[in-house]
Symmetry: C2
Subunit: 588 residues, 2 copies
């Protein structure tokens, strides 16, 4: 090894040891008589010392030739620091150098390698290997490693096998768009990269593996919204001989274990909330339960008082922003502007201030007297000092709008503390959702999700009302994962495909292998997939996943560091018997 | 859960417990008055019992309706067996049934789910989910899971971080053929799937991550020889601030840990053998050291005795097959036929029997008298009863031929016991090898491998003689992995690319990001990649990797279970702006 110790290792007990360190020059302070070098590696920073007159002159010259990020090897004696630094693990000691050599020089980096860098996004992506040197990113990848280790430890301890499923699989039109891989040996044919190992993990249940998991890369060729990646990592799991609560309990165990082990946080038992309740109370299937402010429906106390907007609305619904009666006109106008933004789309907002003296002041005083408003306040459990914010319109739309307003109020009132974690299960999702574009029902989760037995009868008459044995894990308003109890019966699976608009031939061609497998003793089974990138970011207290991935793509799906994707040789295309068609040409 | 216990769990201490089990019907024995059902799951087999007259008649009818591989749920009382089965973990007990239901029926499987199945290769691949139910495959995947867990445990314990590198990277013409992935967002451009995360792990060293590993899928679009897979798994590792011996010692530690933990075998310290010695003594860069029979060069005792074939040969070289002087004429003829097979290509074989009476009998008695042959025997450390087998020809060719003969003799003499493991390091590989097809030197390992400092001077004059800081881990004649100390200096990397026939522009276009990174403080570093599929197969005592992979491809690169690769929609091709060109059409 080119070192005897790392840069994070030396303590008082090493005093008078001869040591050899290697690392990067973080900083040099040259005070004339004394030169200090902060030497950095993954493990920490150690201070090196040279003294004019005492140290060999050639060492001093070498030291003065160093620049930031030079890679050096240093030998010397561990001595006690005159002025200790209690903020550094190695702050009690420094190394009085006896040898110093440059292992590799460095050009001046295009941005500073500091916790708060001066580098812009583009530059940091291009020189990702330099950005990764910064402590915040190092801590993110360290956290990611820790979470993967602990996830595996937990699942292994409860008899899950990690089994690798293939990456070169088969393209299916259902779901998001596949990345495809042309086959050279089978001309004109293509593999697809998996959007998830869904069918394979189900086949592993058919094969009797009982408990499967895998930390696995998945791929989706989608137009990238901010903070989506074309390749992402899942904790993918499946269990046989289970019912919904068995899966929920098992993965509640994992979630609580991870919080305890990695963050020393005790998470209480996870509440279960139905999809219907989540939509009704929070206007979202991923409610942020770090704060209350749940929706209160006000139709019975707002209608028929002459306020046309409310009278014509399908739903009048509000939230109680506690203690906000002091909001100024300006603050209230800003909230109105917020809900009117095109992304949110409300027409307006009604407020009621619950004054300290027991009176009310509202934006609809013309239509509602003090008694009317007192009835609102009572329904909303408001007390003096609270502020009621009320929206109205079509039920689905207004709930979504009020969800945005509630989250905004949570932000304004600092109720969304990234150090607080409130997970829950959202259950009883609808099986199907109507797609306006294709004018047919799509599987809300995926086509392998089982309907609730008691709802199967509705499949023909009211398909939109059929509930699924499907569930999401939601933490702090973020969907961390989801899963379902699967169909294990061939006939039911065929029926599902029929309802999703597959012909028998299409179903057989694309998923025949799975339906055939169901004829050879498929056990009841179910599972879940957790978004690992998202989970790590959540543990790291951040919204964006990008800095929790070593080498992410940008929003155009490009790796700007290696400049990929890129053109390939004609010879390569010839071997694949493919031709790239220019935008001006006709393809088929 | 649809069970209270697994089928591998119940023991005498559970007697008189009411239990609920779920699993597959392995076997039914109906003796009229008594019916036994063997119920199987991943954990074991438990015997269920029904008694005519005692058990409910409806249960008996259900039991008689069952077939092999039906999935059932059974409830009953744990009782002591009359005739115990000491070969089964659950052999002391059986379950007297009080309830029995069919969770899913099964058609008769196309082959038997037994340790020795009657299914042929094709059928077993098509119904892989049934083949995976067989105990040998289950044990293989269990072993694989165990080895991955222990590998991670060990590397984690010595400060390696697992860091995920991207799967959508950039195609480079160097090395094997890439699988490519057309980009929809960047028309006419392609990602490539990684043949290995080589450049990314080097960038992680530049980024200061110090110790990286990853169990990672890699991809090569090669014409598949038997037992190659287009996607395979590597234990991929890299370390900074190391020299060759640091890497070897670290991974020797891993190898010994895995053998100890997983197989309870103590492996002594691994020998290091130079590539030159391996070729000279075993004719192979992956010698099987479970047995001796190393090569003895015989030029000085065989030349100039009138035997033209030896006189004209560059090298006469032999092995001593101890105790084989009793080989019959027929056995010796078969050995001659063996070395003459076109795949091996020897012109003939000379033998010398060392008779018990001290005399010699050879196939070249016409040219060599007893004294001559005694000199051979002495040189080869032969004693009475041994058999000397001698080949001749061009040195490189004859060594390869004798390697095949040595391995064949190892097989015949049963010296290649799959329960014995002899690992070694082969070191000092040549940096470059001449490629006849392209008439230029190729990197033997890869272009990032560093030449030995003392040999750099030979790069221009004798490129074929430059040795690399490259090493292979070899166990039982199988190359389990290889690695090298990398180049970390931009100028040396440029020089290497020049010697490999890259223009400056090509080098910059394909690997510019790496050479640029070397300018910003790249530390000395090196690493290794171990073939995980191969390692698991070796631990499992088998040659073929296929049954250690859950869902392998066949030799044509097809997954016959899901029928992939397959044609994709025109719409998909249109979005990618690609056209498949028929064999009769011109491409460009």
């Amino acid at each position: 090894m080119l070192r005897s110790h790392t840069c994070g290792e030396l303590r008082k007990e090493h005093l008078n040891n001869e040591v050899k360190l290697s690392g990067w020059v973080q900083r040099i302070r040259d005070k004339g008589g004394l030169i200090w070098i902060d030497l950095r590696d993954r493990y920490g920073i150690t201070q090196l010392l040279l003294e004019e007159g005492e140290s060999d002159q050639s060492l001093i010259e070498t030291a003065r030739s160093l620049g930031r990020e030079f890679v050096i090897q240093a030998e010397g004696l561990v001595i006690e620091r005159e002025s200790k630094n209690p903020n550094m693990a190695t702050g009690d000691i420094e190394i009085k150098l006896t040898a110093l050599s440059v292992l590799n020089a460095s050009k001046t980096p295009p941005f500073t390698i500091e916790n708060n860098t001066d580098g812009g996004e583009e530059l940091r992506m291009k020189y990702r290997y330099l950005d990764l040197r910064r402590e915040p990113l190092r801590n993110n990848l360290k956290l990611r490693n820790r979470l993967s280790i602990e996830t595996r430890k937990y699942l292994d301890s409860i008899d899950f096998f990690e089994i690798e499923t293939p990456y070169l699989i088969k393209s299916t039109p259902e779901g998001a768009r596949d990345f495809v891989v042309p086959s050279r040996m089978s001309e004109g044919q293509f593999y697809a990269l998996p959007q998830s190992p869904q069918t394979f993990k189900q086949l592993l249940m058919v094969a009797g593996y009982d408990r499967y998991y895998q930390l696995v890369k998945c791929f989706r060729d989608e137009d990238l919204r901010a903070d989506r990646q074309p390749e992402f990592t899942q904790i993918d799991c499946e269990m046989a001989f289970v019912e919904q609560d068995d899966v929920l309990n098992t993965f509640e165990g994992l979630v609580r274990y991870l919080f305890k082990t990695v963050k020393d946080i005790d998470i209480p038992s996870l509440p279960h909330m139905t999809y219907a309740d989540a939509m009704k109370l929070y206007g979202s299937d991923k409610p942020d339960l770090r704060f209350g402010m749940s929706f209160v429906e006000l139709n019975d106390v707002t209608k028929n008082k002459g306020f046309k907007i409310f009278d014509e609305a399908e739903l009048v619904v509000g939230i109680n922003a506690e203690g906000c009666a002091t909001y100024s006109r300006k603050q209230l106008d800003k909230l109105t502007d917020f809900v009117r933004r095109p992304q949110i789309g409300a027409k307006g907002m009604v407020y009621v201030k619950c004054n300290e003296d027991g009176s009310f002041k509202s934006s609809v005083d013309k239509f509602y007297n003090q008694e009317d408003l007192a009835a609102w306040a009572e329904k909303m459990n408001a007390k003096a000092g609270d502020l009621l914010l009320v929206l109205s319109g079509d039920a689905d739309a207004v709930r979504k709008q009020l969800n945005e307003l509630r989250l905004e109020m949570g932000n304004q009132l600092e109720l969304r503390n990234p150090d607080v974690f409130v997970p829950l299960w959202v259950v009883d999702f609808p099986l199907l959702e109507w797609d306006e574009d294709s004018e047919r029902y799509h599987a809300m989760h995926h086509p392998f999700t089982s309907p609730k037995a008691e709802d199967i009868g509705l499949l023909d008459s009211k398909p939109g009302e059929v509930r699924a044995n499907a569930y999401d894990l939601v933490i702090n308003g973020v969907e961390i994962g989801g899963g379902s109890i699967r169909i294990h019966d061939r006939d039911l699976q065929k029926l599902m495909f029929k309802h999703l608009g597959f012909t028998d031939e299409e179903a057989q061609e694309q998923f025949g292998f799975l339906m055939n497998a169901f004829e050879f003793g498929a056990p009841p089974h179910g599972g879940i997939a957790l978004g690992f990138d998202r989970l790590v970011a959540l543990f790291g207290g951040q919204d964006s996943i990008r800095d929790f991935i070593a080498f992410p793509k940008n929003n155009a799906g490009r790796d700007v560091m290696i400049d990929s994707p890129s053109a390939i040789d004609h010879a390569q295309l010839d071997e694949l018997r493919l031709k790239v068609v220019k935008p001006t040409e006709q393809i088929s």
